[in-house]
């Protein structure tokens, strides 16, 4: 039962970290390596609003999500748009932005800015306390993570099937040229995708960070997790990302409960290699398949 419950929780954590990345890639074919940095930025911004400006926690979250969305949109409009279509440049530029954000957060004495260093930055849990489920103790924050994950998945499904912009997203994801011929503005969709993807990174941050603390280093971890999930799931496929999240979540949880926790990462990377050997484009990916057809 422990494995089942914590397996689901850890899977949803992976999923939350990866959803924004896969959405952006699916719509715009841009690998946003600043994804983890936006995640971290959300945490520190929210912390700053709550602790330095004494704003209400939920108001702080909303303001932060708006800011991070705008930042994501700006990222595309002023930077990534210029290099779109040049895969290496896309990676270098977006990773450079990630470094600027993550390392910038740790700079000290830039004017009166002291930098976010140390372990004293944490967001409060939405609801404190624990509950016992079939004899397994789980805190409410982890249950909230599951709920938020479920809402996002359902929301994404509805959005991409019943909303105009969502349908345009799907069109872009399926065939950008055909979508453009039908009047869908590719740049505009990419801007919106970056905004939504960044907001999703932000939602992940504000739901996951209350489990522990906010650190700049976690940005690299989140980027790694998102990349691993998306590659195994199939770049750009959010159904694939969800499936890969659950594979990773259950594999690492089972490794910790039944085997030795130190081998969690080994199992994780072995799984990645295994999946890519069997399906080079990932579980739901079509990249390799399309290339071979050409």
């Amino acid at each position: 039962m422990d494995v089942l419950i914590y397996g689901v929780i850890n899977s949803v954590v992976y999923m939350l970290m990866a959803l924004g990345f896969t959405l952006v890639y699916g719509v715009s074919r841009l690998p946003n390596f600043a994804h983890g940095a936006l995640y971290v930025l959300t945490g520190f911004l929210t912390w700053t609003f709550v602790n330095n400006l004494n704003l209400n926690y939920f108001l702080s979250i909303i303001i932060t999500l708006v800011i991070v969305s705008l930042l994501g949109a700006g990222l595309y409009a002023f930077v990534l748009k210029r290099v779109r279509g040049m895969p290496v440049s896309e990676i270098i530029v977006s990773f450079a932005i990630a470094l600027i954000i993550l390392e910038g957060l740790r700079l000290q004495d830039i004017g009166p800015f002291k930098g976010f260093i140390g372990s004293s930055y944490a967001l409060p849990a939405f609801i404190e306390g624990t509950v016992s489920i079939a004899g397994v103790t789980v805190d409410y924050q982890r249950l909230i993570i599951i709920a938020v994950g479920a809402v996002l998945v359902v929301g994404m499904w509805v959005f991409t099937r019943h909303q105009k912009v969502g349908l345009a997203f799907r069109g872009m994801a399926q065939d950008e040229r055909a979508a453009m011929m039908l009047g869908i503005d590719s740049d505009r969709m990419a801007v919106v995708a970056l905004a939504v993807g960044s907001a999703l990174a932000g939602v992940a941050a504000i739901t996951v960070y209350p489990l522990g603390q906010i650190t700049a280093e976690s940005g690299y971890h989140v980027l790694n997790a998102a990349l691993a999930v998306c590659i195994v799931g199939g770049l750009g496929s959010w159904m694939g990302a969800i499936l890969a999240s659950f594979i990773f979540g259950f594999a690492t949880t089972a490794a910790a409960f039944f085997g030795a926790p130190r081998y969690q990462d080994v199992i994780l990377f072995a799984l990645i290699v295994l999946v890519l050997i069997v399906r080079p484009s990932g579980l739901f990916g079509r990249q390799k398949e399309l290339e071979e057809r050409v």
Partner: protein
Amino acid sequence: MKSRLSCDSYVKKAFLVLIVVSVALVGVFLTGCGSSNGGSADEDALVIGITVGRASIYGQNSEESAKLAAEEINAAGGVDIGGKKVPIKLEIVDTRDEEPGVPTSDVLLTVEKLLLEKQVDAVTGGPSMSECSMALLDLYAKYKVPNVVATGTWTPAWNKKVGEDPEKYMYSFRMSGHVGYWVKDAAALLDQIKEQYGFDKLYVSSSDAAHTQAAAGAIKDLAAENGWTVVGEETHPMGSSDYSALMRDVASSGAQVLFWWDCKPEVAIGIKQWYDMKVPAILMGFLNPLDEPTAWDDLDGKIVSTIQFNGEGGCLPGSEFTPLTSSFFDAFVAKFDKEPRGCGNVPTYTAMYVLKEAFEKAGTRDKEAVAKAIAEIEMVTAGGYLKFGDDHQAVYGTDPDATLVGQWLQWQDGKRVCIYPEAAATGEIQLPPWMQ
């Protein structure tokens, strides 16, 4: 054409929004922040290089303490070298040694640049990464610059290397302690718990890093020698985000103490899970988040009764084990509006006074004379009584009248209470509420 115009107009609007957001972000981050700069400019000033990884807490602790000491020394008239009073000027460099992806060679280059360009009279601070400090020993020997390692660098290999060739490394000293001392302290503290509560079952956990595993392994062996039964042990990957398996394992093992050595901030997740799952074992160890003076509020009080190694002694409120302990603590709080964390604070503060003393005693800036003067220094400090061994390592023990001491704290009612060593303790070990 229309679409193109519409796109341009959109870009312009978005550009404006981005500028507004950027300005707002800068404003937000600048709110409520403050900074200071130690030292002053003077042609004759005694130039002390401060080598710290500014993105790490060890570096930050060290830098702040150096600034505090420099300010105090300058306010008191400076350093008397051969009858002439000169101020201290700090040359602070960021060694970046605890940042991901920064190789040791970069750290060495930074320090070499400092030595060559700034003409420093002496160096203190870090780097805190052992491999960097080990490599720097040869650099300092080459340039013959007196230096005192004062934050991190806890490897016993450092003093072994110096001890094997004291002539070559005559300019290098270490004020911070090393794992050999801390492991003995941990074993003694476990015995204290055993005596007080009759516990004898131990679970040992560490992150998957060479130094944490080595330290945890040494503690396990010492505890076993002292009659503890090690009922479980585990190593987890760095940066884990779920420790439920560990906590379940500890609870089912019958352990009464969970000793945990982990140097990553993500371990806060595990500390909270220990509290939430009400694991019936005292949590003690070396866990970075517990070092923060604000940890009680940061972690919503879920650290009650946790026991943490606080590093070199002198950073806990209420400690007065030497006449200088509380004056350092109060001065630090007055200057920085926060309590000192622990590791690297007192050693760096002390190192500054040691250098002052050495230059005054030598009466010259001659580096060899200064190095010899450092070796002979014995003095009462905020962290105990200082003297260096033949291997240039400051001697640590449990009696602050005879040696420097390391301190262990327990979080009690939102406060950091010193529980070890006995001579410095301000409170007794308590059990977590659910174990009482």
